[in-house]
């Protein structure tokens, strides 16, 4: 039978200052670990929420992002006539031929960054119901008018209603501010696709997006598009496309974060080890007494390991508690895949919570192994003689 857990827990409480300081060291590492995972989760969530499960995005075969895709007008017209595309109340297909280009704009914080200008079609807003106009009006088709995402307004200079964005060819007048919640569209500028194509001398669309009549019919739609030798196009569900867009960056952030925290965690593990060694040194007679009473070596080992894991649990909970406040912060960075600025929030998902907690418990466990082993190997008679 094991030594009661209350013994381990109360021993930590009895030396609460040391416990608090050691747990704080662990909490700091867990904070960094959780924050980096929250960053990757936030990026992924933002991009995945951007897509709709019912929408299909068509790109050039081999293209990995909208920026490096190109679809000639003729091919786009063929896609437009395919069966299986949803039709709205006016009898029009819910489909938009869009062009995506990057422009460089000055940031309020200094420096410049790439921003996506999306040339949209008449059904683009219907395809993205999450995009809402919060100020001004929609850009009129056939004019160089644009609506700007709310995340860009906060971070870039001069993006106010009524002002203009100038590129080498023409001035784009901002007539609306749009908000798309926590999605990538909040970091885009939208205007008429024909105007954007002329303005940026793009003879081809970047993507064709349409809503499926039956959202389960993706495979049939895919084969219609991908098996047609005239098209050389690929089709993806929009949610899957945006998940792919976040993959490289999320993977980079996760690997970077885990590598950094593993290095930091060495310090925290050594801290836990010192604390537990001192706990053993101060309780040699207690250990001798427990052994004399009949507790086995394994029981003593488990008791000190439990104490160390408790220490990790306290550190983990503290770290996650403070990391949760990071959710109040929105940050923006360049997405490797699209090369454009993207704003997103730190997001504490259940997966991040459990990974961080597991990380803290593992730190506690590793820190406690040697001291617990030492405690379990103490000689009973010598321990009882200790003053």
């Amino acid at each position: 039978m094991a030594v009661p857990l209350s013994y381990s827990f109360r021993s930590l409480w009895a030396r609460r200052l040391t416990t608090f300081l050691t747990a704080s060291g662990m909490a700091l590492v867990v904070f960094v670990f959780a924050t980096v995972l929250m960053l990757a989760a936030g990026l992924q969530k933002t991009l995945v929420q951007t897509g709709s499960y019912r929408n299909v995005i068509v790109l050039r075969q081999g293209a990995t992002s909208e920026v490096d895709s190109g679809i000639e007008r003729g091919k786009a017209a063929v896609v437009e006539t395919l069966p299986g595309i949803a039709v709205d109340q006016s009898g029009e297909t819910v489909l938009a031929k869009e062009v995506v280009v990057l422009i460089t704009l000055p940031k309020k914080a200094g420096g410049t960054s790439n921003v996506i200008i999306r040339g949209i079609g008449k059904r683009s807003f219907a395809l993205r119901p999450q995009v809402k106009l919060i100020q001004g009006r929609m850009p009129r088709f056939g004019t160089p008018e644009v609506a700007v995402g709310s995340s860009l307004v906060k971070r870039f200079k001069g993006l106010t209603l009524g002002s203009t964005i100038s590129d080498s060819v023409r001035n784009w007048r901002i007539v609306g501010i749009m908000d798309a919640g926590n999605t990538a569209f909040s970091s885009e500028i939208w205007g008429d696709a024909e105007q954007v194509m002329q303005g940026f001398r793009r003879p081809v669309y970047s993507v064709v997006i349409f809503r499926m009549r039956d959202s389960a019919a993706l495979d049939a739609m895919k084969s219609l598009i991908e098996d047609d030798p005239r098209l050389t196009l690929q089709a993806k569900r929009e949610t899957a496309f945006y998940l792919d867009q976040s993959e490289m960056m999320a993977k980079f952030l996760t690997i970077l974060g885990i590598s950094l925290t593993i290095i930091f965690s060495l310090g925290a593990v050594i801290g836990a080890m010192i604390t537990m060694h001192s706990a053993v040194a101060n309780r040699v007679r207690e250990i001798g007494t427990l052994r004399a009473l009949g507790f086995q070596r394994r029981g003593i080992l488990m008791s000190f390991l439990a104490e160390s894991v408790f220490l990790g649990l306290i550190g983990g909970c503290m770290g996650i508690f403070f990391a949760s406040f990071m959710q109040l912060i929105t940050i923006s960075t360049v997405n490797f895949q699209s090369l454009a600025e993207l704003a997103f929030k730190f997001t504490l998902t259940p997966s991040v919570f459990f990974k961080s907690l597991a990380f803290a418990l593992i730190m506690g466990l590793i820190g406690g192994v040697l001291p617990a082993f030492r405690a379990s190997r103490l000689n009973i008679v010598d321990s009882l003689r200790t003053s």
């Binding site: 039978m1 009661p4 209350s6 013994y7 009895a14 207690e286 009473l293 009949g294 086995q296 008679v381």
Partner: protein, 227 residues
């Protein structure tokens, strides 16, 4: 010949300590029996080997040669795991400095050895309350050791020693850290346990007053009993 009236039978026990290359003999060819229900005091000067002998009988130290039978179990042949199990059911310890766990209450300290039994929580509570009643400390069961006097702490330790109803009680200088009044109370309690519950008590002491409470006193000197 083994006698059913003997609870402890010690046969030709020798024990040496090794300090570097130096071999220090502590017990030399000791043979004696302790009768069931005996209250034995072992006296002797420091270094005479009395605590070592007590530790061997309690199964917390290993001898070099000889054998020790407690209630017909040869404890010298038990593995470490078996010996720990045997201690938990057969030996009650009373230490000079009480050795209570400071972070546990009096109740929890007494309950500690019962965690090694298969008793339910309710049964454990009943046993602990009975043991604390025996030492007249029921009303202080929720106090931590630091809130108790030395005499009370030793009484809690005695309750812990008897709670599993062990075969023998071993006491190493049980009054060594107590004032005269508390020492007398503890010795009264030990006498009562011996008289009323027929507990076999083996006590190591320097104190002639304490030894005077025992039925039998054996003197140990340089690792051998002297007449």
């Amino acid at each position: 010949m083994e006698s059913p009236s003997n609870i402890v039978e010690i046969r030709r026990v020798s024990k040496c300590y090794h300090r570097g290359d130096l071999v220090v003999p502590v017990l030399t060819d000791i043979t004696f029996d302790i009768a069931r229900g005996e209250f034995l005091a072992i006296m002797g000067p420091s270094g005479s080997g009395k605590s070592t002998l007590l530790n061997l009988m309690a199964g917390i130290d290993r001898l070099d040669t000889g054998s020790i039978l407690v209630d017909d179990t040869d404890i010298t042949t038990l593995s470490e795991t078996e010996l720990a199990s045997w201690r938990s059911s057969s030996v009650g310890f009373i230490f000079q400095f009480y050795n209570l766990i400071p972070v546990l209450t009096a109740f929890e300290n007494v309950e500690l050895p019962l965690h090694l039994t298969g008793l339910s929580k309710k049964e454990r509570r009943e046993h602990v309350e009975a043991a604390l009643r025996m030492v007249s400390l029921t009303e202080r069961m929720d106090h931590s050791p630091s809130q108790l006097s030395g005499g009370e702490q030793q009484r809690v330790a005695i309750a812990r020693a008897i709670v599993t109803d062990p075969l023998i009680l071993v006491a190493d200088e049980p009054t060594g850290d107590l004032d005269r009044k508390s020492a007398a109370d503890v010795l009264d309690l030990m006498e009562r346990l011996n008289r009323e519950l027929n507990k076999t008590i083996i006590m190591v002491t320097h104190d002639p007053h304490a030894a005077g409470r025992a039925h039998l006193i054996r003197h140990l000197e340089k690792g051998e009993f002297i007449p």
